[in-house]
């Protein structure tokens, strides 16, 4: 599904990713772990098409197509979804209307019928249940005045509505207390399917206690320095990043 080869990317002239490789197949969950500054968030933003980041070398192929120069909306329509580390607050923009626009953009792209607000309300209601969000959430502004946990849950709601083929979750576990973490993790597990793939970007192992990854990769200095199964995350937790790097 996703094949990244020798990817180099920079922001403000500073190279962050330096030869990053990754292959993700449908049905797989990959965890990417690494210390602060290793390039985790850069990877997330580059995949989503943030224009602040420049790909200087290498390739990103999604279902065989090179997407490195595509606009963010075109990547979204192809089925790539980024759950933001810091979801953006947009006062005045209604959550449900925004989500319906996004949903309809996708429906249109897939040559399916667009839905009206009443039909969408039904869809959204079901999706909200996945992360135990109350229905009044749909009448609020996008992330505006949401608690940290609500923002992260909202990202998962959006993922549930848009049903991406590839979801990149950027530190979705950060800032969550244990109850919220469990809800979010359950939500992710509900959305995990044989025909989609998930990349979990995280600093800590604790999310991986609830969402079991098939592969764990350690990112350091802009490249993957080790890959393994779930046991690698536990080893990291015990030894810390420094020991692994040395």
């Amino acid at each position: 599904m996703l094949e990244i080869q020798a990817l180099h990317a920079r922001i403000d002239g500073k190279e962050i990713l330096k030869g990053f490789d990754l292959k993700v197949k449908a049905g797989e969950v990959h965890a990417i772990m690494g210390p602060n500054g290793s390039g985790k968030s850069t990877l997330a933003k580059v995949l989503a098409g943030d224009s602040h980041y420049e790909v200087t070398k290498g390739s990103i192929r999604f279902e065989g197509k090179d997407i490195a120069s595509l606009e963010p909306e075109d990547r979204a329509l192809l089925g790539i979804f980024l759950a933001f580390q810091y979801p953006v607050e947009i006062p005045g923009v209604n959550n449900a209307s925004f989500l319906r626009m996004a949903y309809n953009a996708k429906q249109k792209f897939l040559k399916r019928t667009e839905v009206d607000p009443i039909e969408f309300d039904e869809i959204l209601r079901e999706k909200l249940k996945i992360v135990k969000m109350s229905a009044d959430f749909s009448s609020r502004s996008v992330n505006h005045g949401f608690s940290g946990g609500e923002k992260k849950r909202n990202e998962i709601v959006q993922m549930a509505v848009l049903e991406p083929k590839l979801a990149v979750l950027d530190e979705t576990d950060s800032g969550l207390d244990i109850d919220a973490l469990k809800i979010v993790a359950q939500g992710i597990n509900t959305l995990r399917r044989p025909d989609n793939a998930i990349i979990l970007i995280t600093h800590y192992q604790r999310l991986l206690d609830y969402v079991k990854p098939d592969f764990v990769h350690v990112l350091s200095g802009g490249r993957i320095i080790r890959s393994g199964g779930g046991e690698l995350a536990r080893e990291l937790e015990k030894k810390g990043y420094e020991l692994i790097q040395s």
């Binding site: 224009s51 005045g92 923009v93």
Partner: protein
């Protein structure tokens, strides 16, 4: 919330008007609560709201397309527990310019004031917003908040925001903030990452920016009139 138009509507009891040299005086008697809508198109330029004990008012002001407007809105919170809120929205283009000055005077204990002003400016439009709060000696526990946000849709648009605070009391909570700039790139990217085209995302953001003020208007007739006014104006601004 029902909004009274000072020029057209029959006013609720406890609200009296007086025309003075400096403008229109609106007096709210003890515990009276009434909200008002002011439209620049209607011509009155200067207002002074006088609030007795426990009186509450929310004032909404809209400027949408007038060539030149100059207005002052003042509130004197004479009685304790009185509340004054100002919410303003201006959508200007061409070479339209506006100077608006809002002053909240806390003259009694436990008084609260809120000011939120937003402008959407395109072409060579200019907005100057002065927001003042004064807290007098006896006005303990005064609580005020001032926020001004200017959205610039073109290089030639300009905005000035001047928050002023004059506080003569230690026991107060006063906050203020101002932002001026083009659309937030982070907001645009967020919306586009969900599959919205750049132009759809921009439209949504600009309407959303205005909506924060418009949504306060609950009278459906007034609201839909204002909304279509604002929409037409924004549509024009975005097409450029």
């Amino acid at each position: 919330m029902s909004l009274f138009n000072l020029k057209k509507d029959k006013l609720p009891s406890g609200v009296t008007l007086k025309q003075s040299d400096s403008g229109l005086e609106v007096h709210l008697a003890r515990s009276v609560s009434a909200d008002f809508i002011l439209e620049a198109a209607e011509g009155v330029k200067n207002y002074r709201f006088i609030l007795e004990e426990g009186a509450r008012t929310e004032v909404l002001a809209f400027t949408c397309g007038e060539t030149q407007t100059l207005a002052t809105i003042e509130a004197d919170m004479l009685g304790k527990d009185s509340y004054f809120s100002f919410k303003g929205l201006s959508v200007l283009d061409d070479s339209q310019n506006q100077r608006l000055k809002v002053t909240a005077r806390h003259k009694a204990p436990h008084t609260t004031s809120r000011q939120l002003f937003k402008s959407v400016l395109s072409e060579a439009a200019f907005s100057d917003f002065e927001t003042a709060v004064s807290v007098e000696k006896g006005a303990s526990r005064a609580d005020s908040n001032q926020l001004c946000r200017n959205l610039l849709l073109s290089e030639g648009a300009r905005a000035v925001s001047r928050p002023l605070l004059n506080i003569d009391n230690d026991d107060v909570s006063c906050t203020h903030g101002a932002t001026t700039g083009p659309m937030e790139e982070s907001e645009l990217f967020y919306l586009r990452s969900r599959g919205l085209t750049e132009s759809a995302a921009k439209e949504l953001l600009v309407y959303g920016f205005a909506e924060e003020i418009l949504e306060v208007v609950q009278d459906t007739e007034v609201r839909s009139r204002l909304e279509s006014l604002v929409r037409a104006k924004l549509q024009k601004a975005l097409k450029r």
